[in-house]
């Protein structure tokens, strides 16, 4: 099962917060995961999601992360993914999610699927 840990104190909004998602981010935890992402996002202006301990992810998980990023942008908040994860990278590639530029919703140019640029 998944386990979510949030850093920082509860209560008032903080400048920066890290949400660590370990275990699975799949259809079976989809509802639960959405709640946690939503809660974490409400409590901060800058949310980092640590996926380094992710062991399983599927299309619904990718959708949730993308939606979370979208919500953050709409709320004027910052959202990014932390931690290299091979499982995640493979599913992202399989699903054809990786891209060179963000989509038209990506108003802050912070798309989470854009590959690291090496050419600057």
């Amino acid at each position: 099962m998944d386990e979510m840990a949030t850093g920082g104190r509860d209560g008032q909004p903080q400048a920066k917060r890290t949400l660590k998602i370990s275990g699975g981010l799949t259809i079976s935890q989809a509802g639960e995961s959405r709640e946690k992402l939503l809660a974490a996002l409400t409590g901060t202006d800058e949310l980092e999601v640590d996926l380094s301990a992710l062991t399983e992810v599927d299309l619904s998980g990718l959708q949730l992360l993308c939606a979370a990023h979208r919500s953050a942008m709409q709320l004027g908040k910052r959202f990014r993914l932390l931690g290299d994860n091979e499982v995640l990278a493979k599913v992202v590639a399989d699903a054809g999610f990786q891209r060179h530029v963000g989509c038209d919703m990506d108003i802050t140019n912070s798309c989470i699927w854009v590959e690291e640029r090496t050419d600057g």
Binding site: I27, A30, L59, L64, R70, S71, A95, F97, M105
Partner: protein, 700 residues
């Protein structure tokens, strides 16, 4: 039209078969090479696919069996061994004879059945549980566009229903299946994603644009989606066909792709195009398309570019197919042009008109370039012939119980197409000789302190305007004494004749000369070497033999690059003009009346303290009139022998376009052809080797 395609198929199939042979022979040496196995499989697959498409059903059916076996090999279920290679080579020959049998019908069915039985036995041993039919790839009988063997690029739009997850289907698996069909680019479209607050976490919002290049056909793609078809938005459109027969047009421009997809109208595109900048960026900034649409289209463009590239690489060796006759016509026309140009230059220099001279010079330069590139088109690497010999050596040495390896060098050396064709038979003869007479049996080799394995080395290299081809073996070498004895017996030389090694070896090229004690099916009937010699001479080449007893024999064949145009030396006797191939000419010296008187009626002249025999051409051709006080001797070198030809006057070098003589003059001795000079007169081209032979016969 159908016939054109059938012809194209045949040509392609022949090409594939010769490639197949090479691959198989290589495979025998490196049985684990997955690359080679793949190549064999693909060749079979293509022959089968296109064969059935153009109605060569027998071939398709037969090839299918072979392909089935190589599918097993490819999947590691069957190992490559000598037996398999043998059978496959037989199968290859069978396919070829089916092709030769004009319509692919009526081929020897028994042989086919035998080969298939042999292959099945091999395959059955590897996978006893599976009947061959199940192992075959699908779509043999399909002859629709996109049937097996033909690579088609499809654009697949796949938008699963919202509740697809609930149905227990993971779209990622479908994508994975698509990837297995061929080269695949997947672009996920995320624009329908709601925000976190609105999202139904168990619904599917994503849709995909997939660009897939596959030879498996449309149905194979549809099959992937068979379980979700009713519950998704799916379109599969072929966007490019990559056949072997048609040149692919350029890959599509980004705008065209967007247009085709209906993301943009023609008018919108035209408006954007009016401002020449990067189309994609502009279209986005205009708000006509979204970045996502552009991205997806860009992926498609890149994909097609790659598919295009891949095909080009595969066809690097032969990019367009042109009938050989058309090239011959082109070369003939260039020949005419060269002749006319020579006349133009001559006229211009006679007139002394500076303007005309300048034009003539320009024409001369262009003609020379045109001539070179026209001749270049007909140049082919000699390697295609070499690979045929590999098979020959393999089969022959097996038949004779010898272990012989053929090594080659300079396969990329280019020669005129017609020369290569005419060179084939003589080379086969020479190689047969090396295998039969040259290389010894393994036991004899070991006894002589040589490795069991004999080697025949075939090499080609450019040298000036000719190509040198060497055939070298490490066998027993020529027996000088046996040759001498035989030559004396045949009355070719007197028993006391002093001959250099070179002259002695040249004797084996005399008609009917063979020292082999018994006649084998391979060679030794004594019809070999003289035929070889004549064939090489007809190509205006020469042949030379050197050999060391016990160490091997080396045969050197020198062949001019092309038959159509040669450099030659223009000479005059009386009012007549003659040409001598410049490649044979060594030097020119003067012959005075005094010299003639001093030689006491023998046709010999002393050049740098060595005697050179000469042939007075005025006498030989019975040309009336008195020779000038100082004549010229053109000294030529043929098969290591220096012989002079006496002429009145040496005019100079000349680019000679060879015209064959009419039927009535074809067999005139000593003349190999004719050419037209700048002033419109005809000059005869001398057949030097034949003149020498005739002169030698007269002396005896």
């Amino acid at each position: 039209m159908i016939d054109v395609h059938r012809q194209a198929f045949k040509e392609e199939a022949y090409e594939l078969l010769s490639e197949l042979e090479t691959s198989l022979l290589e495979l025998e040496e490196t049985p684990d090479d997955a690359d080679l196995i793949g190549r064999v499989f693909r060749a079979m697959h293509t022959i089968k696919g296109s064969g059935s498409m153009f109605g060569f059903d027998d071939i398709a059916r037969f090839t299918h069996e072979v392909e089935t076996i190589f599918d097993l090999v490819r999947n590691g279920k069957l190992a490559v061994d000598k037996k398999l290679v043998n059978l496959t080579l037989q199968a290859r020959d069978q396919i070829k004879s089916m092709l030769d049998n004009s319509e692919g019908e009526g081929a020897d069915l028994e042989t086919s059945a035998e080969i298939i039985a042999g292959l099945r036995a091999l395959g059955g041993a590897a996978a006893p549980a599976a009947p061959p039919a199940e192992l075959s790839p699908p779509a043999l009988a399909e002859s629709l566009p996109g049937a097996a063997g033909e690579k088609v690029t499809y654009r697949i739009h796949f938008a699963p229903g919202r509740d697809i997850f609930a149905a227990g289907i993971n779209p990622l698996y479908l994508l994975r299946e698509l990837r297995e069909l061929g080269h695949c680019n997947v672009v996920a479209q995320t624009r329908w994603f709601p925000s976190l607050a609105e999202i139904d976490p168990e619904a599917c919002y994503v849709y995909w644009d997939v660009i897939l290049t596959t030879d498996q056909g449309l149905n194979a793609i549809r099959d992937v989606f068979i379980f979700v078809e009713d519950d998704c938005e799916l379109s599969v459109d072929p966007i490019a066909v990559h056949t072997a027969f048609h040149e692919q047009e350029e890959y599509k421009k980004l705008g065209e792709i967007l247009l085709e997809r209906g993301d943009i109208t023609l008018q919108e595109m035209q408006e954007v195009l009016d401002q020449q900048t990067r189309f994609g960026e502009l279209a986005v900034s205009r708000g006509v398309v979204t970045p996502d649409e552009v991205r997806s289209a860009l992926v498609e463009q890149r994909h097609l570019k790659e598919a295009h590239q891949e095909k080009q690489n595969a066809e690097a060796a032969s990019s367009i197919r042109v009938p050989a006759e058309r090239l011959d016509v082109l070369v003939n026309l260039v020949g005419e042009l060269v002749t006319v140009q020579a006349r133009l230059s001559q006229t211009a220099s006679l007139r002394g008109d500076a303007d005309l001279a300048a034009i003539a010079e320009e024409v001369e330069r262009l003609t020379a370039e045109l001539r070179d590139s026209a001749l270049n088109i007909r140049m082919l690497p000699i390697g295609s012939t070499f690979s045929k010999f590999k098979r020959l050596v393999r089969d022959l040495s097996g038949e004779l119980g010898k272990e012989i390896e053929l090594t080659t060098d300079g396969a990329e050396t280019e020669l005129d197409k017609t020369v290569i064709e005419k060179l084939n038979d003589p080379l086969v003869h020479l190689i047969r000789n090396s295998i039969d007479h040259g290389v010894e049996l393994p036991e004899a080799r070991l006894a002589a302190g040589k490795p069991r394995h004999g080697t025949v080395h075939l090499a080609a290299v450019h040298s000036g305007d000719s190509v040198l081809i060497t055939i070298e073996d490490d066998g027993a070498g020529l027996d000088q004494e046996a040759i001498r004895a035989k030559a004396v017996e045949r009355g070719l030389i007197s028993s006391s004749a002093e001959l250099s090694q070179k002259e002695l070896f040249a004797l084996i090229m005399a008609p009917g000369f063979s020292t082999a004690k018994k006649v084998s099916s391979v060679s030794g009937r004594g019809v070999g070497m003289d035929v070889v010699k004549r064939a090489i001479e007809l190509l205006r080449g020469s042949i030379e033999i050197s050999s060391a007893r016990g160490e091997g024999t080396r045969i050197l064949v020198r062949i001019p690059l092309t038959l159509a145009i040669i450099e030659s030396l223009l000479v005059r006797i009386g009012a007549d003009s003659f040409m001598l191939p410049l490649s044979l000419v060594d030097e020119c010296v003067e012959l005075t009346r005094e010299d003639v008187a001093n030689s006491h009626g023998r046709n010999l002249v002393r050049v740098r303290e060595r005697l050179v025999p000469y042939i007075p051409l005025r006498e030989r051709f019975s040309i009336p009139g008195e020779p000038p006080p100082i004549e010229q001797i053109v000294i030529t070198q043929v098969s290591g022998q220096r012989v002079g030809f006496v002429v009145d006057q040496v005019v100079g070098e000349h680019q000679t376009v060879i015209k064959s003589l009419g039927r009535a003059y074809r067999n005139v001795e000593g003349i190999s052809g004719a050419t037209i000079l700048g002033d419109g007169s005809v000059a005869l081209i001398l057949d030097i080797p034949q003149l020498l032979e005739a002169a030698e016969l007269e002396e005896l």
